[in-house]
Amino acid sequence: MSDSIIGAGPKRIDGQRKVTGEAPYAADHHPDNMAYGYGVFSTIASGTITGLDLEAARQSPGVIDIFHHNHFPELHRTPSSMAQGNKVEETRLPFEDNRVHYEGQFVALVVADTFDNARAAARKVGVSYQRDDAIANLDQGVKAHGTKPGSGNHERGDAEGNFDGAAHSIDVTYTTPVETHNPMEMHASVASWEGDRLSIFESSQGVVQQRGALSKIFGIPPSHIRVESPFIGSGFGSKLWMWPHAVAASVAARETGRPVQLVVPRPQMFTTTGHRPETRQRMRLATDDNGRLVSLRHESINTTSFTDQYVETCGSVTQSLYSCPNLTVSHETTRVNRGTPTSMRAPGAAPGLFALESAIDEMALAAGVDPLEFRLNNYADRDESQDLDFSSNHIREATEKAAEKFGWHDRNPEVGSMRDGHEIVGYGMAACNWEAIKRECEARVSLRADGTAYVTCATQDIGTGTYTIIAQTVSDITGLGLEKITVRLGDTSYPNGPISGGSWTTATTLPAVAAATREAIKELKGYATSEKGDFADVDNDSDSLVFENGQLTHDGQGVNYVDVLKGQKLASADGHAHTQGADDRYSYRSFGAHFVEVRWDPGISNLRVSRVVSAIDVGRVINSLTARNQVEGAIVMGLGMAHFEATDYDARNGRPVNNNYAEYVVPVHADQPPEVDVILLDYPDLEFNEFGARGIGEIGITGMAAAVANAVYHATGKRIRDLPIFKEKLMENIPAVQSA
């Protein structure tokens, strides 16, 4: 299989269109007669709208209409079911009533002939409020109204009973702040109606789910709705589910009788399109004399909105990563005046593994064991939470390989002992982990008489390389070159495909595309073996009739498939497939380990990550370039999570204060570690699917923040349990502040 295109590293087939600006993104669409919407957003986090002064805005040039809670058609809510294909995260519709649940919520929408006119008029809308006290953060929420049980809980054995008497134990609490996805491309909708048919261009990671939700909301059949998202400027989860702006744009288009474009401004990308919620996680771990875990409790609380319960399943990995007979995982939520949270790259696992993998480090030290050895001693060999074997698990090899390459064994375990000039060097490690999921999927493949193949599937390429790996799949089976394969995605008029999330796109779409390709070949064989065909005397499912490199051959006689079609004046041979989700014979997960070197310069209080070695076991790698890119990108994002990222809210009123790219700090090029070494183990997981691929988008960020925090501890002796690891948390001699 070594010269197979599966596993090779062809460049993205859509790359040229993207870098030349030819690829159309949502807001690049300008249908004839299009009008522009611009939102008016709440400037309080909690309360009621008591009045709207629209006079000045109405007089403003170019204004067509202004929507608000007293001027908005009655719609329906979506049941928000992923299984039904109509999930949204924020179930409340825009302009449903006069309540304000968070700052930056839509309170009106101005539609005008140009963007500038819409924006200018929106700023003239006067809004008066009855302001209520805002619940501004997790602590305030818990204090005000406690918590509500969440989902994803797990219990086995007796964790409490085996904690107190244990040889070594720790009881520590970690917190993580709100993080905001901040994809480069802002959310955008361009909606138009023709009669009762809605067509919408959206920056979406899930066109099929959006179609379902719109269908429920507008009470029209899905077949009357087309959602298109051929290219998206990334999403990181914020574009998995439709947000209020898309409903607002669709209504505005219907009511004004014109196509309407609505782009969510950057500050509202922090409020009305989801975020990773704030978490507080209490970890209680205990070991026996030999450093084996005997009790593990992971209790997490996350913030959610007043309108919906979103559970950040921080303990999802804790259930199965380590072997421990007595284990409890629980999730609770508390309501705050923020928009509804949503999945952000590796939801649950990213904040959850910050807590778990930091706690494992603390536990190892408490038990007097090297953190690497501690993990090797405690990794689970089977999934104890489900009582299932793992389909394929090479975490020990990943850990040992990365440790070797990193040079872990040269680490002097004594805190602050490794120095280089002004800098103190710290080594830290953490495991990483992510579930492998495969869903139902449909795809269509045509082998066409012009010698090309044409593939459609209503999944999306969110910048990760889905177009390319789908083309590789068709190429692998047909022998056609990539340049001969056209892949079309991101359009609900194609066969149903999955959302681009959960790292399940690869495992879900490739089997469907492969099956559809084989169906097309089968159809072709049918033509070839029909009366008029080149192999009229051959049985149509004969094993000796094979399709290879664009040729149908039998007994040494080959015919190009183009000639088969042309001979019968046919346009194409088509295949359609509908493949199923994963079975439950095994626990399907991906594994890996990060090793991180940090440098802390106490003289200038500067922390930087100087080296990362990560070994990842995600099954077979389909495209070595895009796969590596996913892990490297996730490592950098994890580094941002570790020491830069946090959306700050004013504790007095719940207002997000750093809602722009200058002050919401994510890593820039200069922060890239000089050395990032990604090892992809590449063991096919053939129990999971025929390609043996499990998916790679998320695992890289999991564990990164803990690896950095553990390295920081090694360098400084400071255990930072609250992200991000800002320099002031490591500094000495900070004067006390008289609180006012």
């Binding site: 003289g603 500067n606 207002r655 204060v657 809602n659 200058a662 700090v665 922060d671 320099k727 900070i734």
Partner: protein, 327 residues
């Protein structure tokens, strides 16, 4: 859109007369502050006077050894200028530590001097902010005040830092701002140019209405001076200083003959630390003398809820900069 009159000036005279003493007029240079704030509706000029055609792009060495910089010299051009790199290293380094390449290509010398604060409450358009709406109060003092708020030169009316890096270097070097106004030309000492917030934070500088900056003239470089800019922040680029220092020293052997120290990221204006300089003069190069000077520089600083760390950080910016320069 919000409408304003736009005029392109061909000479400083014409720019000044178009602007007049209209408080609602604004000169447009690179636009990286002005247009940014117009777009978020915080600055609302009724008259924009585009000065980009003015002939103010020169960097000249004057007979007395000073260096005269035209108002429109871009941050990139200034940072890359040979004489600036060699004789005013601290200025070149300060410029290159600021913003991004794209912004520096647009940003001008006068525009940088005139840039506005980054305080989120100033920029949000709704919070109480004495700078934006005099008398409304200051949301930052008891709000979120970690990154872009000061510990030096604050008042109970405003605590926003002056965000510029370039100006910190200029404060250390010493400079004169030449302006042209309705009443003719005049010069303002750079250290007097920016104002402390006091009880009128809406007044940020010493320009009279309508005055146009035409040049900034740097003092002659110190003989045998070594200089450098050290900027401390969270990420390694594209962030305003949490604390920074511009330092110039001249040595005789191990003795400090002369020193200039200015601070950024910690003050409500580009902060010249005269007392710290005095403490350094005549001292031997040593960590303890640097540390003492640094402590003096930060004396009287007022920490707020989230930015107390800037007091030790400001000291570190001074000590490390001195250490590197005298090594």
């Amino acid at each position: 859109m919000r409408e304003f009159d736009y005029a392109r000036a061909d000479s400083p005279r014409q720019a000044v007369s178009t602007h007049g003493s209209n408080e609602q007029a604004a000169y447009l240079a690179g636009g990286t502050t002005l247009l940014d704030l117009v777009k978020i509706d915080i600055m609302r000029p009724e008259q924009v006077v585009d000065i980009n055609r003015l002939d103010l792009n020169e960097i000249e060495t004057l007979d007395d050894g000073r260096t005269r910089i035209g108002a429109l010299v871009t941050n990139t051009a200034l940072a890359r200028h040979e004489r600036i790199q060699s004789d005013y290293t601290v200025l070149s380094e300060a410029l290159l530590s600021g913003a991004t390449t794209q912004l520096r290509n647009k940003a001008t010398t006068a525009g940088n001097v005139m840039q506005r604060v980054r305080c989120p409450y100033f920029r949000d358009g709704v919070s109480s902010c004495n700078k934006r709406e005099p008398g409304s109060g200051c949301a930052a003092i008891e709000g979120h005040n970690r990154s872009v708020h000061a510990v030096l030169g604050t008042s109970e009316h405003c605590i926003a830092t002056h965000p510029s890096d370039m100006c910190v270097a200029m404060a250390a070097i010493g400079a004169t701002v030449t302006v042209e106004g309705p009443e003719g030309q005049r010069e303002i000492d750079f250290l007097d140019f920016h104002l402390l917030p006091g009880d009128a934070p809406e007044r940020e500088h010493n320009l009279k209405p309508g005055e146009l900056i035409t040049h900034v003239t740097l003092d002659a470089p110190l003989n045998n001076g070594r200089s450098g800019y050290l900027k401390l922040r969270d990420r390694a680029s594209y962030q305003f200083a949490l604390a920074s220092s511009a330092v110039i020293v001249t040595l005789d052997g191990d003795t400090i003959v002369d020193a200039r120290v200015a601070l950024g990221g910690v003050g409500t204006k580009p902060w010249r630390a005269h007392e710290a300089e005095k403490a350094l003069k005549g001292q031997q190069v040593s960590e303890s003398s640097f540390q003492r000077a640094a402590e003096i520089a930060m004396q009287g600083a007022t920490p707020y809820a989230h930015n107390a760390f800037k007091i030790p950080l400001g000291q570190q910016a001074i000590v490390r900069n001195l250490t590197t320069l005298t090594a």
